[in-house]
């Protein structure tokens, strides 16, 4: 029952993120900020933090597996690792924000700033909520509240965490990777559509 609820919630949230991504793509095409994205963003650093976030999905899965086998300590360790990885990602994102903002690049600078900060910012907020959830989970787990009959609590929270993780993979691909593949993709697309 809880898992169904979380899946529906995640589906609903997915539409929220798709709306933000549509705005991003729309501005990418109309304002042609592919080269600007290349100049401002550091794909290597972000790539490392992205790797950490992907890893955190794995550690959470390990934690759940340990719990299901009755190994509470192991589950706590894996869960702690998940929290650390998530927090590290958030720290990395904060650092990137700090670098951009102190360089005078803000949400109001241009279309790229607007859609970049909004999309990554909303993802960061979701991640923060996920960290709070995992923290609560850790507390419950350590006090023994998640034994046996509450088996699906971790699975439910896990759906949310994996979702936030998956959203980032898409966002990362869209914002950081695509400009490297084809920084001038957008103008061609526009030409093809309008025939001009």
């Amino acid at each position: 029952m809880n898992r169904l609820m979380m899946k529906l919630f995640v589906a609903s949230e997915a539409i929220f993120f798709v709306s933000l991504m549509v705005a991003y793509v729309y501005f990418w095409i109309s304002a042609r900020f592919g080269t600007e994205a290349l100049a401002r963003l550091d794909i290597v650093t972000s790539g490392v933090f992205t790797g950490m976030l992907v890893l955190s999905s794995g550690t959470l899965w390990m934690s759940e597996r340990s719990r299901n086998r009755g190994k509470r300590t192991a589950a706590l360790v894996w869960l702690g690792a998940t929290l650390l990885l998530g927090a590290a990602f958030l720290a990395g994102q904060s650092h990137e924000y700090y670098r951009l903002l102190s360089g005078g690049f803000t949400i109001g600078s241009d279309e790229f700033g607007t859609s970049f900060f909004t999309l990554t910012g909303f993802h960061g907020l979701h991640l923060l909520l996920g960290l709070l959830t995992l923290g609560t989970l850790m507390l419950l787990l350590s006090k023994g509240y998640l034994d046996n009959d509450r088996a699906n609590v971790m699975a439910t929270a896990g759906i949310y965490w994996h979702f936030v993780d998956a959203v980032w993979v898409v966002v990362f691909t869209l914002i950081y990777v695509f400009p490297h593949i084809a920084p001038h993709l957008a103008p061609h697309v526009v030409q093809n559509i309008t025939g001009s």
Partner: protein, 548 residues
């Protein structure tokens, strides 16, 4: 009797007050029945406020060159009227009906998430209050209920738009939570024998509505967030120099058109309960009602640009959305025939719920036909932003959704309160309201055709303008008078109305099996569910051939 099914309690006791403690009992309650009733009070509160705004607009428009309201105030009033009636009257009234009835109809004792349920209701109330708070801060939102950019940007408007964004965001989060709650409740908490094919049609329509909410509200929430970022942090999503005002229209109507069906499908559900009970026949074409509901929900996501024909998106786009909009008329038409077929050959009892149901068939068909007209691009271009649009949307929202709310009110009031609503006062209310409604809005079709634009605070004394507007205003006052009759009816019936038996209408569904009003625990046991009319089967179990 020995075959009655046992109904399980929620897994753990809930923090609801079990003894009568007045207001505190209600505020602290997570009982779905109390939350459902509070939804109705919220809707009534905002209905009176939104109605008062409308009445003042009609006073302003009653004669040419009137100076009763200034243009600024008039803009705020029509914006608030539309926003409040859609988000804080029709939505809470219909969602609240679902919250009250769905567990009772599926033989459950609670919603799946009772605390979340209460949270949804309070978010709706406070979202609405926040919206109204804008009046005290130097002006309400004034850019129309669909709030088009770039008019809504910082440079053009005051702080009202911020309250629009925040109020609707808060209420929107509440609606998403309610949608989640409905889907899980309906899919997981039905009594064992109630397969999907035996679910009452109201529950079916709430299920479809819940999916529409989950799919549609996020794009509105995203758009509202972007607009807030534009206004508060100087982002540039919808500013006309850098961003794209058109993007707002896309995101808004991607929510906005499914929203129309979020408001009408629960009403369809109510009518699908009322028609069989008051025609003393099973519903005609149960599976067609369900299937056409699903078809409407799917098509609802593919028609949004018919709100944007005037934006100049090109013939290809217009043709596609014109066709899909015409197509969505088909499943709606199917339902009309389901209800007509249910009435055909039945022994009809014209009690209050049925009166509203029959009136709905006529009024909603008028609104539906003008809707078909608007799907045709050249007609849309000719009359868009005129009073024809105003007339059309009131025929579907009032003649469809609000008549559904009224039919449901008269039908389920005995269950909710334990008292019958007065039938005589009900008829006075009905005729005053229906006559007033048609007087107000039928004439607006012609008013629009002769060229009166919507959303202007006054007009010059062109031929017919003053007469038509005066007729419309008189109708509005009749509706206002009828609302007082309704309020008096509710007040009088709660105090000294006729006591309602558990099953006053000789109805079909499980909510009529329990007491009126139901105890905190809805059911100890329920009859076995053998069809979509479990209570009917139970009452007639000694005459097995009677069912046809």
């Amino acid at each position: 009797m020995e075959s009655l099914l046992h109904v399980p309690e929620p897994a753990e006791p809930l923090p609801s007050a079990t003894t009568r403690r007045g207001l505190l009992e209600w505020i602290s309650s997570v009982d779905h029945k109390q939350v459902g009733i509070m939804y109705q009070w919220v809707a009534l509160l905002f209905f009176l406020a939104g109605g008062a705004l409308a009445l003042m607009m009609r006073v302003q428009l009653s004669v040419a060159n009137n100076r009763f309201l200034s243009p600024e105030v008039y803009n705020q009033f029509f914006t608030m009227h539309g926003t409040v009636m859609i988000f804080f009257v029709l939505m809470p009234a219909l969602i609240g009906a679902g919250v009250y009835l769905v567990p009772l109809m599926i033989g459950a004792n609670e919603m799946a998430y009772p605390r979340l349920n209460a949270l949804s209701m309070w978010l709706t109330l406070f979202g609405g209050l926040l919206l109204f708070f804008s009046f005290l801060t130097g002006g309400a939102p004034d850019a129309g209920w669909f709030n088009y950019a770039p008019l809504t940007e910082e440079v053009y408007t005051g702080s009202g738009i911020n309250y629009y964004c925040m109020g609707l965001l808060i209420a929107g989060i509440g609606s998403v939570a309610a949608g989640l709650n409905f889907v899980v409740t309906i899919l997981k908490m039905r009594v064992p024998d109630m397969s999907l094919k035996r679910m009452p049609l109201f529950v079916w329509m709430m299920l479809i509505t819940a999916f529409l909410i989950l799919g549609a509200l996020p794009s509105l929430n995203a758009a509202l967030s972007m607009l807030l970022l534009d206004r508060l942090l100087h982002a540039m999503f919808f500013v006309n120099t850098h961003g794209s005002p058109l993007l707002w229209q896309h995101l808004f109507w991607l929510f906005g058109h499914p929203e129309v069906y979020i408001l009408i499908l629960p009403a369809f559900g109510i009518f699908s309960e009322v028609f069989p009970v008051f025609s003393r026949k099973p519903i005609f074409g149960y599976s067609f009602v369900v299937a056409s509901g699903i078809a409407i929900a799917l098509l609802a996501y593919g028609v949004w640009m018919h709100h944007m024909f005037a934006a100049g998106l090109g013939n290809t786009v217009n043709a596609f959305f014109s066709a899909s909009s015409l197509l969505i008329g088909v499943p709606t038409g199917v339902k009309i025939f389901n209800w007509l077929g249910t009435m055909y050959g039945g022994s009809i009892r014209l009690r209050m719920p049925m009166l509203f149901a029959v009136a709905f068939l006529i009024e909603f068909t008028i609104g539906g036909l003008t809707g078909i007209m608007f799907a045709i691009v050249p007609i849309d271009w000719q009359v868009t932003d005129s009073y024809v649009v105003v007339a059309h949307l009131h025929y579907v929202f009032v003649g469809g959704s609000l008549f559904g709310v009224f039919a449901g009110l008269f039908y389920w009031f005995p269950k909710m309160s334990g008292k019958m609503l007065d039938e005589k006062l009900g008829r006075v209310f009905f005729w005053l309201f229906v006559i007033g409604f048609n007087l107000t809005f039928l004439i607006q079709h012609w008013l629009g055709m002769i060229g009166m634009p919507r959303r202007v605070y006054t007009y010059l004394d062109f031929p017919h303008y003053t007469l038509f507007n005066m007729i419309s205003t008189v109708g509005a006052f009749l509706m206002a008078a009828s609302v007082f009759v309704l309020l008096w009816n509710i007040f009088k019936s709660i105090r000294s109305g006729e006591v309602a038996p558990p099953d006053p209408w000789d109805a079909n569904t499980l909510e009529w099996y329990t007491d009126s009003p139901p105890s905190l625990k809805n059911f100890e046991r329920v009859p076995p569910v053998t069809s979509d009319r479990p209570l009917y089967d139970f009452k007639h179990s000694h005459q097995p051939d009677d069912a046809t």
